[in-house]
């Protein structure tokens, strides 16, 4: 029994190494990237909803607080415009942050690989050195 067990153990460990651990990078490049992108897009959409950008855009011309005299209309239009611009700017900033985070996430393996090679003196420049 123990010989058989040992055989099985060896078989499964090798299986584990090949099919699991070596599959991982492949998965990262294919599925990993797509799901990361999906998540970040959803995140951005969620923030657009939170800032009510679409609603603001649609209501740009509607008078605020129901005040319909021409002075209020002008004021309301400008206020809305400013609001819209500011919020959109804020959203864009958020999107940028999200994109950077996603990019870093995706590029992580490359960074690590490079760092390892650098540590082993296989390459001369440290990873992303131009960035520093």
């Amino acid at each position: 029994m123990s010989l058989q067990a040992a055989k099985l153990i060896v078989v499964h460990i090798t299986r584990g190494i090949f099919f699991d651990i070596l599959y991982f990078p492949i998965w990262w490049i294919t599925r990993g990237i797509t799901s990361a992108v999906k998540i970040s897009v959803n995140w951005m959409r969620h923030y657009a909803h939170r800032f009510a950008l679409l609603i603001l855009l649609k209501n740009l011309h509607k008078p605020m607080f129901g005040q319909t005299d021409w002075q209020s209309r002008i004021i309301s239009f400008f206020v809305r415009l400013v609001q819209f611009v500011v919020l959109t700017a804020g959203w864009i900033v958020w999107c940028a942050i999200i994109s950077i985070v996603t990019l870093v996430w995706i590029l992580m393996p490359f960074f690590i690989l490079w760092a390892i090679m650098y540590q082993l003196t296989l390459v001369r420049t440290p990873p992303f050195s131009w960035w520093l």
Partner: protein, 931 residues
């Protein structure tokens, strides 16, 4: 060979040689692989165009291998995690070094050091572990229920004329069920297999799986709800299992039921729209496939429907909580005040002072989630999308009109509504608050106008008015003008309104207001059916369980729905059921302490308290009582054997619920001379069956001899002077639907009135002039008549036997007075004999017993001699008038004398009064204790 299971749509085909087992057993008891199918796919099933098979062997070797795989996997993860931790430590060390040296942090990347090398080498492990986690959460190979329409799959009937061999060789449409099994289920299967091995059973059966499932928490929850005693159940399973013991046991192998079970489990998961086969699917499959298991459950009162419902209950609670959380998350984004997100609204101060903002309340989670009611909500959305479109919910009170509105508020808060309803407030106007503090003329009207102005300007308000009929019914009192203003505005379509009205009030006050109603889409909120009510009860059960510390069994909920449907006619589901289960929980907790289980009996007790009807399951002593009904009746009534027997049988049938519930409990016709006990028997029935002699509605038919008197019975028609008022009969039964209906001297009634009773006796229902249906199915109708008294007297004098008398009556006399279809409606025509002298003697004794009882209340003992009684009986005997003369005699001779003595003060406590022959009354004074 084809085998088709009744409760599943899977068609099974088994290998003809081994009948699906995959192996044969030699006489020596050794199992050998089947030659034809080679042990692979020995049993296949067809479901919706796909061939199902199971291809994952389970034996000691495989289990062992699985164990090793698992161990290796955990070891791998463990080792990697340790390495990762080590790497992180190295990183931190380097970080510390850099800090010590005071260098910039970029050195973490630019410096070359063994610590950093180790860190970077182990960093990928972090991502790998994430990958493993992510892979564990998602199902890579889900059951393909999303791709095909469910019913389409179940109904598909390909493979006409297929045989096992053709199916096995068909490579294209095969589906390996084992690839859809989740980890938990697989472990259960392995466990079952090992259990069978340890018990030395040749075949692994679904029973082993059941035995293994029993200790799991989920199953125990389900059993708890079903009220199945676990120990009892376990014993039965064990008893069945013992039969499988095999002395020639070599190794355990799965039998054909095993494969069937797995395929049916697949079907269950498919139909339930699950991505993998889960333990609950296994449970249902077990019950469907193995008749012995079905029997165990059936013995304990559980069938498949109940099992499904309870399983749904156990799983629904999680789903409900998730839904609520989702809505709350969304609702947080809505503004906290009255402004909408587009900032186009206006503040509505006056309106706020006399209303409640339902969307704000929904935002804070004040409402209980609405269960189902999808059509009502869809219709509401459709109606509100129109400009100026309004909705009117009509339904009986308690059916859930307000609940639908709260559900609407929740969806508006979470913005899960059509465009036209987004970003709006749902505001419930409170007419009472309008009047509060509105002293002075015109103040209330001013307020109303101001509120309306605000609403129209704000443009983001949908007004809710509950019981909108009050605006028209004149119940407003001082607010009549305000109501007028409001209705005018609504009539002009200037605002969206969601209103409710009860059915009765709608019919009375709103139906004819055409110009007003024009704006509203009428949506009827019906009483929910059994399934929906069950779900509603299940969803609320949690709160009551928490509050009152009692747990509901499924039976209790089911019984609540059934009994409230049957007995509570004035109220509607789900309100009446919710009320009852709440009271049942309180009752159970009080009676048996905390953490008790609310059972059917508790529910029955609550219902019995409300209705005074013995709805409890018949206890042993009560069944004894029922079998001795005749004796009990005879305690009050003398002779009339046949009548007593008939009545007793009817009552027994009714109590055991072996009767047609669409008719009254019993329709009986009592014929006979006056004073022989007809009314007395009716009173006795009321006392014995309904618990009180007074539970009797008595109609003297001689008062209803003309045609117009029908209105006195069922109520005058609306529009007439006294219109809108109920009739004597309909109101009486409406208020007390559990009673004896006694119709005296029915031959005197007008034929039109008899027609009414035709319907009542057949259908158990009567509609009064207000359009309400009065339920007679819980009454006992007894009609009496003296019409044929003379004929009975003469026949008895001629010493004709009762049978013959009855025959003659039915054929000759009765048709003279009643139409044949009327007589036909009676369950029994009972002929009462005139009383004989012996009968009168016995009655005299009974009546004197009553006198004795009355005197005993005063502490005085009363007795009579036999001769004295006989004397009275003789005096009171007149066959023509029955026992009434006797009563007069006793009154004159006994009661009067006793009254005189009492008034004179001659009688004291503990004295003895003896009635003697000749009407003399002797008093034996008691011994004086005090001088």
């Amino acid at each position: 060979m084809e085998a088709q299971s009744k409760k599943t749509n899977v068609h099974f085909f088994a290998c003809p040689t081994c009948v699906g087992y995959g192996f044969l057993v030699t006489p020596a008891g050794k199992p050998i692989t089947c030659s034809q199918c080679v042990g692979k796919e020995s049993l296949v099933g067809i479901l919706g165009g796909k061939i199902l098979y199971w291809d994952r062997p389970i034996d000691q070797l495989v289990i062992f291998e699985e164990k090793i795989i698992r161990t290796v996997k955990y070891a791998r993860i463990g080792i990697l995690t340790t390495l990762l931790t080590f790497g992180i430590l190295m990183f931190l060390l380097e970080f510390w070094n850099i800090v010590q040296e005071g260098e910039s942090f970029t050195f973490l990347i630019t410096r070359r050091s063994p610590l950093l090398l180790i860190f970077y080498l182990t960093l990928p492990i972090f991502f790998y572990l994430l990958f493993v986690y992510y892979r564990g959460k998602t199902v890579s190979h889900p059951i393909p229920w999303r791709k095909t329409e469910r019913d389409e799959v179940i109904a598909q009937e390909n493979f006409e004329g297929a045989t096992y061999n053709t199916l096995k060789n068909n490579k294209k449409t095969k589906l390996n069920v084992s690839s859809f099994v989740n980890e938990e289920v697989y472990k259960i299967l392995e466990h079952a297999f090992q259990y069978a091995e340890s018990m030395r059973h040749q075949t692994v059966e679904p029973l082993h799986v059941l035995a293994v499932l029993l200790p799991t928490t989920k199953l125990r929850l389900i059993f708890g709800r079903l009220g199945i005693p676990p120990v009892e159940f376990h014993k039965r399973v064990e008893t069945l299992l013992e039969k499988f013991s095999d002395k020639k046991f070599q190794q355990a192998l799965p039998g054909h039921k095993w494969y069937k079970m797995l395929m049916v489990a697949y079907e269950e998961a498919f139909v339930g729209e699950r991505d993998q086969i889960q333990p609950q699917d296994l449970l249902f499959a077990l019950v469907k496939v193995d008749k012995k298991i079905q029997d165990i459950f059936y013995d304990l009162g559980v069938d498949l429907t109940k099992l499904h419902h309870v399983s749904e209950w156990v799983h629904a609670q999680k789903q409900l909580a998730e839904n609520v959380r989702r809505w709350q998350r969304e609702a947080l984004l809505k503004p906290k005040n009255t402004m909408n997100r587009a900032l186009t609204a206006r503040p509505t101060r006056v309106l706020d002072s006399m209303s409640q903002d339902l969307t704000l309340m929904a935002r804070t989670g004040s409402f209980f989630p609405l269960i189902n009611r999808k059509e009502e909500l869809a219709a509401t959305f459709r109606a509100l999308k129109e400009v100026g479109g309004s909705v009117l919910f009509v339904g009986n009170s308690g059916t859930g009109k307000s609940a639908v509105i709260y559900g609407l508020a929740e969806r508006m808060a979470a913005e899960e509504v059509p465009e036209q309803l987004k970003d709006r407030r749902l505001v419930a106007m409170n007419i009472g608050a309008l009047l509060a503090g509105a002293a002075g003329v015109g103040v209330a009207e001013e307020r109303m106008l101001a509120a309306i102005k605000e609403i129209t300007l704000a443009s983001n308000v949908i007004l809710v008015i509950e019981d909108i009929d009050t605006l028209f019914s004149g119940a407003m009192g001082a607010a009549v003008e305000s109501a007028q203003i409001l209705t005018d505005f609504i009539g002009q379509g200037l605002m969206k309104v969601v209103a409710t009205a009860r059915t009765e009030e709608y019919l009375r006050f709103l139906q004819d207001k055409g110009s007003f109603l024009r704006r509203f889409k009428k949506i009827v909120v019906e009483e929910p059916n059994f399934d929906l009510t069950m779900r509603i009860l299940q969803s609320r059960a949690g709160i009551f369980e928490y509050r009152y510390k009692a747990y509901y069994s499924y039976d209790a909920l089911e019984q609540t729905i059934l009994l409230t449907t049957r007995y509570f006619h004035e109220r509607y589901l789900p309100e009446k059921a919710l009320d009852v289960i709440e009271q049942a929980a309180i009752y159970a907790a009080e009676k048996r302490g905390a953490k008790t289980i609310v059972t059917k009996a508790d529910v029955a007790e609550i219902i019995a308290q409300h209705t005074n009807i013995p709805v409890k399951e018949i206890t042993a002593e009560e069944s004894e009582k029922l079998l001795m009904l005749e004796e009990q009746i005879h305690e009050r009534l003398i002779d009339q054997e046949e009548a007593v027997r008939s009545v007793a049988s009817a009552l027994r049938r009714a109590r055991e619920e072996l009767r047609d519930i669409t008719r009254p409990i019993a329709n009986l016709l009592f014929l006979g001379p006056t004073g022989v006990g007809k009314t007395e028997l009716a009173k006795t029935v009321a006392a014995l069956y309904f618990g009180d002699e007074k539970k009797m509605v008595r109609l003297d038919m001689s008062e209803y001899q003309d045609q117009l008197s029908i209105y006195r019975m069922i109520g005058s028609p609306t529009g007439s002077q006294s219109g809108g008022v109920g009739g004597y009969l309909t109101e009486a039964i409406r208020h007390s639907p559990f009673a004896v209906l006694l119709l005296d001297e029915i031959e005197k009634a007008h034929p039109d009135i008899l027609n009414i009773f035709l319907q009542v006796m057949d259908d158990g229902r009567l509609t009064d002039t207000l359009g309400r249906t009065i339920d007679f199915t819980h009454t006992i109708i007894i009609a009496t008549s003296n019409a044929v008294a003379q004929m009975i007297h003469d026949s008895v004098r001629q010493e004709m036997p009762m049978e013959k008398i009855k025959e003659q009556l039915i054929e000759g006399e009765i048709p003279k007075y009643f139409r044949p279809e009327f007589i036909n409606r009676f369950d029994n025509v009972i002929v009462f004999k005139p009383l004989s002298e012996e009968d009168i003697f016995a009655i005299a004794k009974l009546l004197l017993k009553r006198v004795a009882r009355d005197l005993e209340n005063k502490g005085i003992f009363f007795s009579t001699s036999e001769d004295a009684v006989r004397e009275l009986a003789e005096k009171g005997f007149d066959p023509k008038f029955g026992a009434r003369p006797l009563r007069r005699v006793i009154q004159n001779h006994v009661d009067d004398a006793l009254a005189k003595l009492l008034l004179k003060g001659t009688l004291g406590r503990r004295d003895q009064v003896i009635l003697e022959v000749g009407g003399r009354i002797r008093v034996e004074k008691a011994e004086q204790l005090v001088t």
